[in-house]
Symmetry: C2
């Protein structure tokens, strides 16, 4: 036999074993069911997009992580030796392809479009524990609706989907990109350097208030601005009353509509979900940043009590579709970090339930095969999952293996067609 | 605004509109449900595999169609100007990755493994009507079972899945790679050129018996061999009796076990499925070839009355896993051409059924939003899919649009909270 080929998955990629797939499939089914109940429809775009699209998308750091696909045949020969070896790449998120999709097909799509997308994305990140280079994202987006009713629907639908997965203690943090800008302006930071202020602020959870202040000072931001930011934020986190305080502080620099929309989202979501979804809360958080450059309005995240990171995040991006369509279309979306959610569900232990699993064991040479097939069919018609197992030389180890695989009812079919039932549900 | 970005999908790729996704999702759910009932478990492998794996897999023509992924960073610089610009690629089928997966994880997997795989594969084929460069495959495989009970399970499960999708008039053709080889030997073709004989034979459906004979003659095969093949096949197509005839013709060149396994598969499948699945039939067909070089035993296809091509195909490949594992593991699989199946389902017309779709229309500024959300929630709890629609200036066109999107019950919420119901199910 020739030299063995390596059977490891490619570096940073992973295989999923059957037990985890069960958890993934149930999570996906639940999420889809809840989203459909909220009037969303699923759409699909290809995994491969043009590099021009992927690299001009304001996707922040993610653009650097694009997997590029080598040109083929004549095109590759023509490009040989140049920088221009690729013109396609693998998508790094589902938002940029959605904007292209909407621009391309809007005449045939519902208005507004309430879209569900579930699928893999690829990023060539440095491999690290629990993070892979291919992972699944699960997004809902509402395109063509400027009203904050869109944000309310996104947040309620996502919180409900996560709750139905059994995740309790969900907390929504919400802010607005324009609030962040107004804060930076009010404190006296230099407009050209606002992004660096937001990047430091985004680390508040990790490095604390003093850490953020130090990072800003080290980056050369004016000390009075840093101090003003510290004071402003000390006075304004957590609840709706603080939203009003910050609104007074910032004064007329920010349009009243921004504040009213935020209040309305928080009030509506609170009324509908607090008390009903166990441990659910929503709060204004002026320190919430979110990385993507394309956000233009409300931004939001969901955290869960037992995890140190957010498990869903999103926001409004009213100016992305215009880059394809030539006119702006209001848009907002919420993305579930599917891998993180599956991680939480796996920690709770293997999935239970589902169909009863039955194995029919028979001696291949002597049993009445037609009779075994008929028996299997009748059990399947009653809803069992039934597998056929050719009798091994030693029955004991075969039983153990079948029980280990979750077969709770094992029928040994004798040469005369009689069945002896074994296993946990032998008597069922 | 900057220059518009092209919103077409990349060449040969496609977007899927919501109505088709509904059909795809239902088909996928049905297939998965039937396969699970037959004791199969779903597994997942990554889309990206090493090129070494993909290009050394006996995948026939498909290997030439692999999308290669450009190396990154230092690795790319080191490779610059060489042929060696890529070391990863996108999978072109689900069988080669499955063999790698089994070799890597066999100690943690059920024995035998009855695996379901559903996912996209990529081939850089010349774009043509109805064929795309990314498409979905849906495979079941049984690894670790040498008995023909495996083939019986694959064929019954696949025929049942297709039947449950509403596809009637299914015909299974079955042959064995070893029968093909024995036929070529018996007729006196040159062993080194058997493959070219099989390639010609594979076109029988398209070019007829005379066409196959001409192609073989043109390729320089000996005239007596071509004539012997013609005679042999004229005497042997269609039904089980012909299997016995061909068996007599070929004599002891072929092990009796090959014939007995084929007979047993045909008899068992016929007994279990004919009469039960509408229009179902299975027949021996010694002209069935199937392209992949890795097949070693029984091979089979399913065609459907209304389509000129097969909609599922598979076979036994007992020597593939050994290339990863160092010892052979018996393996056989059946793959549904998911895109072709969806094509047939789409021809039958749009999907009906599913949840009732309800739209609640309200004037954003004046309505009691909390009340509208409560109403939506109550309807969802009863199983409806409910969307919130902000009232447009003109109600008439908004109703038409909502009805066009499948909302059969449309509630207009007045400022006083009273609802006026419209649409096809206004009275429901």
């Amino acid at each position: 036999m020739a030299e063995k080929i390596d059977s490891n998955p490619a570096r940073g990629m992973r295989d999923v074993l059957p037990d985890e797939v069960v958890v993934r499939d149930r999570a996906m089914d639940t999420i889809l069911r809840v989203y459909r109940r909220h009037g969303f429809v699923r759409i699909e775009t290809p995994a491969v997009e043009s590099l021009r699209l992927l690299l001009g998308s304001e996707g922040g750091e993610n653009e650097k992580l694009v997997y590029k696909i080598l040109k083929r045949g004549d095109k590759l020969e023509a490009a040989s030796g140049s920088e221009d070896l690729a013109d396609l790449g693998l998508r790094f998120d589902l938002t940029v392809p959605l904007a292209r999709y909407y621009a391309q097909h809007h005449a045939k799509l519902p208005q507004p479009l309430k879209a569900i997308q579930i699928g893999p994305v690829w990023r060539a990140e440095r491999p690290q524990r629990g993070r892979y280079r291919q992972f699944t994202q699960c997004d809902i987006d509402i395109l063509g609706m400027s009203s904050e009713v869109a944000e309310i629907e996104l947040i309620l639908a996502t919180a409900e989907a996560l709750s139905e997965l059994g995740l309790t203690g969900l907390t929504v943090r919400i802010n607005d990109r324009r609030v962040l800008t107004a804060i930076a302006a009010r404190c006296g930071f230099e407009p050209a350097r606002f992004d660096s202020v937001f990047i430091a602020l985004d680390k508040l959870d990790k490095i604390g208030e003093a850490g953020v202040a130090k990072e800003l000072a080290d980056a050369g931001h004016p000390a009075p601005a840093v101090e003003a930011l510290r004071r402003l934020l000390a006075a304004a986190t957590g609840d709706a009353a603080r939203l009003d305080e910050l609104r007074r502080e910032l004064g007329p620099t920010l349009d009243a509509g921004v504040w009213e929309a935020l209040s309305r989202i928080i009030t509506a979501v609170r009324q509908d979900a607090e008390g009903r979804l166990p441990g659910f809360a929503i709060a204004f958080d002026p320190t919430l940043v979110r990385g993507m450059g394309y956000y233009t309005g409300p931004i939001f995240e969901i955290a869960q009590a037992s995890a140190p990171w957010s498990i869903a995040g999103g926001g409004r991006y009213d100016r992305m579709i215009g880059r394809f369509l030539g006119r702006d279309v209001p848009a907002t979306g919420f993305s579930i970090g599917f891998e993180r959610v599956v991680g939480l569900l796996m920690e709770r232990g293997a999935a239970e339930g589902g169909e009863r699993r039955v194995a029919l064991v028979f001696a291949e040479e002597t049993a009445d095969l037609a009779g075994v097939l008929r028996m299997a069919r009748e059990l399947r018609e009653k809803g069992d999952a039934v597998t056929l197992a050719v009798r091994a030389r030693k029955l004991g180890p075969q039983f153990q293996a079948l029980e280990g695989q979750g077969f709770t009812r094992i029928g040994v079919v004798g040469d005369d067609g009689a069945v002896e039932w074994r296993g946990r549900e032998a008597r069922a």
